[in-house]
Every structure is written in C-alpha cells, then in structure tokens.
Symmetry: C2
Subunit: 474 residues, 2 copies
C-alpha cells in the first residue's frame, strides 16, 4: 500500500528511501474524463436496434494544437485509469508532438459496461468481442476527429499486452483511421493456431534461473516436496497448509490444485512485472520482484516456507494467513484472469477469441504439471459459457502470421517479459519494426521514464520516438 | 427468351443470325456444386452458439495443379450461378494460371440461406451484413486451402459491382488470405459519406444522349408530357395508361409514382447492361440496348409511346400489357433491388451498410424528379425494418476514401457504366491501379471474350492479366 501511494504521488521507493523522480510525477499527467454514446452492437442492426451505452474515455488536450497528431491508447482488459497511469511514455512525448492524448476504455471493463451490471450474464456477454471493441475505437476516433475539426490529423495508436494487440489490429483493420501503431509486448503471433504457445512458463522459469540457479532449484524442489506431501494424504496436506500459513485447510485434490495455481500465479506476476522500481500496475510490486522473491527463497529455512514467502511478494502479507482460495481464481487463461467483473470479461474473451499459452509441465519449466491446451480450454468454456471455442477464428480475423502487407507498426518486446515468445522478434518489413527492450519486463517501454530505467529501455523509447515522428511527418 | 437460350448455349444472336463465338461457350465452363457448414454468426459467440448453415459454392478444379493460385469470386447479391456465367474472364484465364476456380455464394442469396425460408424475417435478417459475408469467405478460403494442402497458394479475388467492392474489401480486411483483387465496377468511394452520390442518373442520361441527342430530348419530353397529363387528373392518367398499355389503371399519385420508377428503371438497366452483344445477365438484353431503345423512341409516333416501347426493351413484351406494379418494386436502392427474396436481402443491405446514389432531379438528368437521399432512406428503412440507418459506418468500416495503405488491387471501370462515378478513376499507388474500360458497360471486363468486344475491353483484360500475373509471381 505504501508503495502504491508513493507511486501514485510520482515518487519512487527503494527500501525505505524515498527518491523524487523528476519529470515522471503522475500529478503532471492529469486527465479529463468523458463519455460518448456508442452502439451496443456494431455488427447487427436488428439485435438491439439503436441501443447505445456510455463509453468512457480519458483525455488531455492541453498540449494539442490543430494539425498535430492524436495519440490514442487502445484500452485493454481493465479500468482505463490504470492504463493512463502506466503509460507515462505517451504523456511524456505528447508535448513535443503537441499531441491530443486520448484513452478510450475497452467495453465490458471499468465503467464502460454496455448493459450495466447485467453485462456479464448471457446473452449480453455476447457483445464482448475484439471486433466490437475495435469498432468502438474506430467510431470514437472518427467522431473525435470531426469534433476537433482535425480530420487530417495523424492518429498514432499505442497499447501494451492485449492493448498492444489491439493497437496493431487497429492498424491492420482500420488503416484509414490509424496511421501507425506502437504495439508493446503484444503476443500477436500466439493468436495463430500454428503460432507459438509453449513459451510462457519456460520464460518465467528462465527469469528466475537467470537471477539465481539455486533459486530455480529450490522452487522446483519445493513444488516436488509439495507433491510428495500431498501424495501422503491428509497429514501431508495439513503439513503443506501449515508451512504455507493458509487460512483454510487443504481438504482434497481440488483445494490442493487451487493452491498450486495460486502459487504459480505469484511467479507469473513477478516475472511480468519485474520492473527496476516499485510499481502498482496490476499488483503492488517492489523493485525487481524476481530478485526479491529469490532472496526470500534463499533465506528460508525450508523450501516450502521459501515458496510461501515468495508468493507473499504478490499476495497480501499484512494478514496472518493466505486466503489462497479468493486471491486466485482459475480461468481460461493459465496466466491468470484477475478477480472481479474484469476477470469474468477476460475469461470470456479467452474462451472466444484470444489464444493463450499452454500450461506448465515441469519439464521445460520449474512449475508443477498443470496441463492447459486448446482441448482443455474447450471443455472449460463449454461448461462455463455453453460455447464451443472456435479453433482458428482469431488467426483468420486478425491476420495470423501473415502481417507483412500492413505497415507502420512497431512491435516492442522486453527480454524479461514472459510474453516475449508470443510476439514478433525481428523486422517484418521496412515499416513493421521489431524493437527489443533489453532489461525490460512487460511493456516497460510504455511506462514513464525513471532514473532506474535500464539503458535498453531508454534506447528503445528513443527509437520508438524517431519512428513515430517519421510516420507523422510522412 | 430466345436470346437467353442462345446465350446459355454459348452462342451469340444478332438479329436472327446465330454466330458461334469460339472459346466462350459456357458449356466449356461447367462447374461442380458443393456446400460447407458455416457459422450463422461469426461476431457473437452466444447469439446462436454453434448453429451453422449450408453455404453453397461452385468450383472447377480441372485446371489446378498444386502450388498454383486460387481464383476466388466474391459472390454478391444473387444466386451464384449467375455470377459464374457472367464471369467468363476468370474461366478463360484459369487454365493458363493453372488456377483453382471457386465461387462461394453470398449469404442470404440464392441457396445460401442461414435460416431457410425464415431468413428474411426479423431477427434473422440481422445476420445479413457485409462483415458476416466476408467472414464466410475468409473462413471458407482458409478451410479450402487446408483441404487442398495449398496453404502457400496465392488467392486472387474477383468481383463485379458489389462483388467488386467485396473483392477489394477482402484485400483491405483479410490481406492474410487474399493476395490481390480485381474489383470491377466497384463504387467503393460512394461508400464514404463525403464520397460521390450524385453521378448515377446523369451518367445514365449521358449514355443515351451520346447515342442520340434527339433520343435524349424525346425521353425528357416524354416524362414532361406524362407529368402534364398526370396533373390533369383521372382523364390524363387514363391517357398515360393507355399509351403505355398498362395492365392496371393509374388511379392515384402512388400508382403514377410507381409508373415513373418502373419507367426510369428500364433506362437504368439498359445503361448498365449496354453490352455489344445480347446477354442474359440480370435481365434479357439485346446487343447495345441503349441504341435499341433510342431507335424505338425515334421511330415512335408519339413520345409517350416511344418511352413505353423503350421500357419494353427491359420488360417482358410477350404479354399484351405491362404489369408495371410487379415488374418493379421501389426499395432503398434508387437503381433497383430486383424482385423476390434476393430483392428483400438487397433492400435490407441498402438500409444498413451500403450507400447508394441520390435520386433523379430532371436538372442533371432526363428523368422525372424522384428524390432520394440519406434522409429519405432513413425514413423508409425505419418504416420498413424499424432500424435507424447509421450515417457513416460503411465509410469507417470499409476504409472510406483512405485506401492508399492497401495494395494489390485493380479497380476497373467502364466509361459506359453509370456506376463509374462512384468508383476509382486514377491510380492510388503503384499497386492500387485504376483500369479504364473504353466502350465498357457494367463490368464488361469480367465477361467472357467475344468477337464483338470493343478494343478497350480487350486491352483492359490484357492489362489485368499482366498485373494478376505479377502478384502471383511476387
């Protein structure tokens, strides 16, 4: 909580020392909030007729001069304020481009709920699709340009993770509206059925192993010990629960599986959010959480207790026990869906249009065997939503591996980011450029600059700025 | 009927002389017919779940060798056999390209009805959209390539009129699937709200005026005389009905309006289908129907009788009177929707996603004042389907006027074709090429070669072949 408050105040905490980070104060990047009416269904004119919903967006127009570009962030799976705050790069460069900055929210997340609190029940959930969200953005940007009398302004799309996919997809599908896109940490090749799906947990593992071989050994050992104990029956389960300081007893295979998922999820989040300073994006994290976790593992008196302490880097440790059943909800995404209404929306998207990594296997990764693949996902999605996941729709609709006919897209990926393997690692053409962020976790390049930034992200941002500038001038 | 039979037998009738036209016999281009299962809704995974329909396609695989391209015709608003027969160009060039030829049908037309005979009622009509039809084609082609073990084969899209729009749109939106497109007579710029909408009836007028200034004068005079007579009340209406040899009396303003629309429609069809030989595409037409009509007008004893005789070039003259109420149904498309279920589907598409020309005004054209514009269309569509036509959706979704980021598209237009003004008349880039077909009516270049072809279409087809060849080799 302390680090969140500090981060929100635009400061940086290392241990107990508070360092002011000049130029990155979020107070410098205030937003205005507004809503537009948006059709609930862009692709069927009879289903809901003229029914609209209130579509939220955040914006900042104080840098903007007429003729200058529009910087548009393609909102992804969460409240839009979180992305505004985590995308300092856009705010930092907006003044020099005299850009209008606008962050529309993704439908079914945050406050942009097409059917209010009923949005997450059937049949309303059916209008949660990538295409509908993109249509929201296309209509929104067209109307905005007209309202600003800026029909000739260039529009540059930005996005991280799924938002990065959306930024690229907007350039793929609406090049009349989006002139260029910075797609940060966007695993778009994973969306093709023949694309990569096995990279994720091995990359998380590598992140920990790169910090300490011993840390990696101990994590692997701990998960093995857990399995051995669980195999012993109730007494073993009790010992696991005790060493983990769980609030609830482990009573059966299901609760033990839940614990495994909960524990693995902590490592996923630490690897993704392995920033060189404390951050509050997606979760509260100290600087270099992978290093912090390994430290705890190495210092622990016992591998299992080490694992529990490492999980505590993510989960709330201010309470006396881990509420492992509510802190992690298994879903269609083996890398986690989060908690609350946003998690339902993401789970549904994972069941319908988004391809995701396979599970962990204890061979190419240090985690327990938790299988996940298209067949298991189909079973889950049928049971949960009564729908049959379509095998190759995303690969067809969003260009799959054949993206070379598009143009003006930067695909950036950090070498620490476990999502890197699903993205694009080399240039596709003169104007579809891969940028490697050495020392970067999940879309670090989109974050505000920071004195603790590794040189790799400083170079990446400079390159991105130069390319964006060339698009605007062309 | 005689000319239809002759045309279908691959022969050509001029007057009473039957000429064999070597190489263009439709018997040379037989097709095989098949069906695939297609999801009724590609954009909502809950609305109809896994429900599929039988999607029809025609194909010819006898020229094909592995590795060679797939020639795909983007079926448009009618039964697919009609397009197979009217697109001889594709069949003629397929052997030299060793191409697989495939014509999938547009959903809601012909035999591809997602909900059988209920397809045209609400809410089922809601799944008739350009996007759904394109998704059908994208899924169909992906599956076909897999089935043929031809994932590396180039796919070239062909289409005429709305089919030409679809061919271009497939390249715009699915460049991963379509490598190049020949979009013949495709009025895509008309789809943008700020694009051209006033060209159509003035071009029809020009076609007749270019044949004979006197013909033009007489048509204009005839419509004026009709109006004068109608203004006199029942006796005037009776005189009009008698001169036209109508089956039904003209009883009121509505029936008189119907007659005006019916008469104008004949001129529309003659201008569109002004081919240099008899043809049975869309309607039975003699060679050079515009010339034939003008001849009748010039020979008539009276302008009104001349107009009636000219209308007879389109409408069935084997019966003793004109059934003007059933031969033409006014709809959301001022250039006509045809008759039967296909006409309902087209009317609905005109109400939802397709922009169309404005009405006639008697100033820039020779026709009576029959107003039509977005406001009137909205009123009609609200009344007919209970929907509000959205102003700029097609312009947003299908790139509007900003198409230069796409590539590998030929836009061909005939100078006789009244749709020419809604299309693209000059090159957009090195690979978005405008081809002018001198002497060509509506997508004449797509038709089989014919000894009576004007040199302009022979040259256009040669240019098209060269460009298509370069796409396949690249």
């Amino acid at each position: 909580m302390c680090s969140e408050l500090l981060e929100m105040a635009g400061t940086l905490m290392i241990g107990c020392v508070v360092l002011c980070t000049v130029g990155v104060s979020l107070a410098d990047y205030p937003y205005k909030e507004a809503y537009v009416d948006q059709y609930v269904d862009h692709f069927n004119f009879l289903s809901y007729g003229d029914k609209t919903f209130k579509h939220r967006y955040l914006y900042q127009d104080k840098y903007w001069v007429k003729g200058a570009p529009i910087f548009f962030y393609a909102g992804n799976e969460g409240s839009i304020e979180g992305f505004w705050e985590a995308t300092g790069f856009v705010h930092e460069i907006a003044p020099q481009f005299q850009a209008y900055v606008v962050f529309p929210e993704h439908r079914y997340y945050g406050k942009s709920l097409p059917f209010g609190n009923s949005s997450f029940s059937q049949p309303y959930l059916g209008l949660l699709t990538v295409e509908q969200a993109m249509a929201d953005y296309a209509v929104f940007l067209t109307d905005l340009k007209q309202k600003l009398n800026a029909t000739d302004s260039k529009v540059i799309a930005f996005g991280g993770s799924y938002g990065g996919m959306l930024a690229a997809y907007m350039r793929f599908k609406y090049p009349n509206i989006v002139d260029g896109a910075l797609a940060a940490s966007a695993p778009i090749f994973m969306q093709d059925p023949s694309g990569p799906h096995k990279f994720f947990f091995s990359h998380v593992t590598k992140d920990f192993r790169d910090v300490s071989e011993k840390c990696y050994d101990l994590v692997k050992l701990a998960f093995r010990q857990m399995n051995d104990l669980a195999a012993r029956g109730q007494s073993g389960l009790d010992e696991v629960a005790s060493k983990f300081q769980l609030c609830d007893k482990l009573t059966d295979a299901a609760s033990y599986s839940q614990l495994l998922g909960w524990a693995r999820n902590a490592f996923v989040m630490m690897a993704m959010l392995d920033y060189p300073y404390p951050a509050s994006f997606m979760a509260q994290m100290p600087a270099f959480p992978v290093k912090v976790a390994c430290q705890k593992i190495l210092e622990a008196s016992d591998p299992l207790k080490g694992l529990a302490a490492a999980a505590g880097v993510l989960y709330n440790t201010s309470v006396p026990c881990y509420d492992f059943k509510s802190e992690y909800i298994p879903c269609a995404d083996p890398t986690g869906c989060g908690i609350g209404p946003d998690a339902i929306a993401w789970d549904y998207q994972a069941c319908t249009e988004l391809a995701l990594p396979d599970g962990s296997n204890n061979v190419t990764d240090m985690f327990p065997v938790i299988p996940w693949n298209l067949e298991l996902k189909k079973e889950y999605c049928q049971k949960t939503y009564g729908i049959t996941t379509r095998n190759n729709w995303a690969g067809i609709e969003f260009l799959g591996l054949k993206i070379s006919s598009s143009s003006n897209i930067i695909f950036s990926n950090g070498n620490l980011d476990p999502w890197q393997g699903g993205g694009i690692s080399s240039n596709i053409s003169d104007s579809i450029i891969a940028v490697s962020v050495i020392g970067g976790a999940h879309h670090l390049d989109l974050r505000a600059s920071n004195p603790l930034d590794p040189p790799g992200v400083i170079q990446a941002r400079e390159q991105e700025k130069r390319i964006i500038s060339s698009w605007i001038k062309s």
